[in-house]
Symmetry: C2
Subunit: 116 residues, 2 copies
Amino acid sequence: MSTAVDDELWSAIGDPIRRTMIDLLLSDGPGTATSLSRRLPVTRQAVSKHLAVLDRVGLIHAEPAGRERHYQVDEAQLARAVAQLSAVGSTWDARLRRIKRIAETVERHRTDNAGS
Amino acid sequence: MSTAVDDELWSAIGDPIRRTMIDLLLSDGPGTATSLSRRLPVTRQAVSKHLAVLDRVGLIHAEPAGRERHYQVDEAQLARAVAQLSAVGSTWDARLRRIKRIAETVERHRTDNAGS
DNA sequence: AACCTTTCGCAACCTTTGGTTGCACTCAAC
DNA sequence: GTTGAGTGCAACCAAAGGTTGCGAAAGGTT
């Protein structure tokens, strides 16, 4: 079912700050801990820790540039994460549909017998 | 963008144990803290805490039955959560496609000028 | 060269969260 | 009524997210 790698991916994108960080890196291009912290409600150090988490699971990677570290999204890894999301989503969706179908069948039987 | 309610939903389904619990409740039907804990690698008390979290965000609801508490998935809320998942997924997907398209355009320009 | 500014990384500390053990309570069944 | 299964509550622990404070390195200025 769910592997340890997948769980790390989930917990990585489960955090709202980290999700916003990915959004920012995607919309504004590569950024540093300092530049990101200016657009987030937490300190640079907190952002730095989040960047480390995202880096560890491979969703982003850093590129040293002088005294700065430019982070950017790893497209292939993010695509994998998106696939994970939609996989779980469609699994739950399928089960919901099945449950709904069964419930409707039961309801149909019940109303059929109600006339007796 | 992301509301506090959405963040709670995300963190609720971000936990691998809680995701598995939802899976179990969907596949096996309603269950109790004890029945779920028998199929999970954590104690009943931990399961109970997770159930409280899922209950608080409305993904499941309890139905007292004698000395037991039967929990089951709230289909409408889970459907909402699935919609959230696919929304974020498609947003990222769209941005990845845009980036890729731009990169290809740049590459085309580069190779066009390479012959000069 | 000396200085100042910006950015970063590390360490200490606090709070919340996920997990455990232990205990008391309730309800069904015998 | 006693016993057993299921629950809830409290205390305690470890890990995660967040903060402040400080020292080091790279870049710009004079």
